[in-house]
Amino acid sequence: MDLEKLKERVLTLAPEAELEENKQFLTFIIPTGKLHYIALKLKEDEDTAFDYLFCQSGTDMGKYLMVVYHLKSTTHDHSLVLKVKTEDRQNPSFDSVCDIWRTAEFHEREIFDMLGIWFNNHTDLRRLFLDDNWVGFPLRKDYQDEVNIVEI
């Protein structure tokens, strides 16, 4: 499917999705509530068939927290990037996509570990790298650790 058709497809699934211009991949900011619905549709529809989540990452952008999904279809060889954002820094949460792409199980655990973003309906959401009693989320920009981080 070419980019124009892909763009139309995402916009029919979620008319409120926002297109980001001048990116390496076709990039959409999608409403948080519709994430799971859009992801499932994009994977299951035969003409889109995004079966490969090749990167899932979380970022603290200062004003908001963001999770980015890099998707690829191994049959059609097209790519798409979805972003979800939240301004809630106390209890940020998104729907889990680990029932759609199993690789998300580990990626979401890492994002929870490093950024404190909760994923609803995840089967086993725990810290992945750090101790269970670790305080704070290291990849947040306001994280402070006077012992382990040495400022030069």
Binding site: F54, C55, S57, T74, E110, F129, L139
Partner: protein, 375 residues
């Protein structure tokens, strides 16, 4: 007659118990702890515990300049050090739209393929050892030493080279580099036949790996299992073919695919890849053009504000770098999507219901490098 009442003692088959494999276990090849639920000898489930050598590399990168980040990436997948460096260099070069000299592309491609061969040699050594063939370990390390010697001459380091810089190479290649590389290829073409004889054709080995840990193509894609492990399941995921970089669109090579998805298929992919890597080097080694070993770069490298994604094929699979830049000399955020991380996630899925001895074989066939998971 008096009736004897037995209190029921749970037999070994009924009782489920947990054992810790690792963090210090020879078959985990690093500091990884697997909590295995066993019923008798059968694995019921398995939980990996990571983080023993987590260094917070992504956080460190937010304070480091791009040339400094190269030195960190060596230490992720230390067996693919050159290829990890390549990823950062390509990220910077593509963002700044710098055309590197032809000579650099040739040297980088050759170095990457040497890197792939030595990584597969070390994997072959330890995989054989995991399954009881200690000879493999000596054979593999003996031959790997030759590649390390070639690197030592050119880069000054045997293991963590940091030889690539944004725009080119740290130094030019050693005058003997081409001669030594050709000697190595000639030598290794003979020796790899021993590999086939010792392990590939060994009945015990084949029985222990055939139909063990079968991973279907759909699951490989869903779990994001890439590299030789994914290609053993028929998942065509070679970045060198799909998103070529350096000279991979100019050289001729095959993407090795097996469709069985078992431990033996993953083994065969790596064995065949060593031949393909030698074939690639053959095409390039005599044709390295003269010229600069680096493009002109500014002293301070700043990427324009925006997002960049760069992927390369390491010896273990797809390495992705997702960079968000705000225009400064350090990235705002740099995410490493490392191949071993996703490959580890499938271990529980394909080990269930098999014997614990098979877990060692499957773990070996996934070729996990722990610093690549922990970063």
């Amino acid at each position: 007659m008096k009736e004897v009442i037995h209190t029921p003692v749970p037999s070994v088959e009924e009782e489920e118990y947990h054992i810790n494999m690792g963090p210090q276990h020879p078959s985990t090849h690093g500091v990884l702890r697997l909590v295995v639920s066993l019923q008798g000898e059968i694995v019921k489930s398995l939980k990996p515990h990571c983080g023993y050598i987590h260094r917070g590399m992504e956080k460190m990168c937010e304070k480091d300049t791009y040339p400094q980040i190269i030195h960190l990436t060596d230490r992720m997948d230390y067996l693919s050090a050159h290829i990890n460096n390549h990823a950062v260099c390509l990220l910077v070069e593509n963002a700044l739209q710098i055309e590197v000299p032809e000579r650099v592309k040739y040297v980088r491609t050759i170095m990457d393929e040497l890197c792939r061969i030595q990584s597969h040699q070390l994997w072959w050594s330890s995989f054989g050892m995991d399954l009881g063939g200690l000879t493999c370990f000596f054979y593999g390390l003996r031959d790997r030493e030759k590649i390390l010697d070639i690197w030592e001459e050119t880069t000054g380091a045997r293991f963590l080279q940091s030889y690539y810089t944004p725009g080119g190479l740290m130094w030019d290649i050693h005058p003997d580099f081409q001669k030594k590389t050709k000697e190595f290829l000639k030598y290794f073409r003979k020796k790899i036949r021993d590999y086939e004889k010792i392990l590939s054709g060994n009945v015990i080995f084949r029985e222990r790996s055939r139909n063990i840990g079968v991973l279907s193509k759909e699951d490989a894609i869903s779990f994001g299992v890439t590299g030789p492990s994914g290609r053993g399941s028929g998942f065509s995921c070679d970045i060198r073919k799909h998103n070529p970089y350096a000279l991979y669109d100019k050289v001729e090579f095959k993407e090795i695919l097996y469709h069985e998805g078992d431990t033996l298929a993953r083994y065969m992919v790596r064995m065949d890849e060593m031949y393909e890597s030698m074939h690639i080097i053959d095409q390039l080694i005599d044709n390295i053009p003269q010229g600069d070993y680096s493009a002109k770069m500014k002293a301070v490298i700043k990427l324009p504000a925006g997002e960049y994604y760069q992927r390369v094929e390491t010896a273990r699979g797809e390495l992705g770098l997702y960079c968000i830049s705000d225009g400064n000399k350090t990235p705002y955020r740099l995410k490493f999507r490392t191949p071993s991380f996703s490959n580890l996630s499938v271990l529980d899925h394909i080990t269930r219901g098999l014997k614990i001895a098979d877990l060692v074989a499957i773990g070996g066939s996934l070729d996990l490098v722990i610093p690549d998971i922990d970063r």
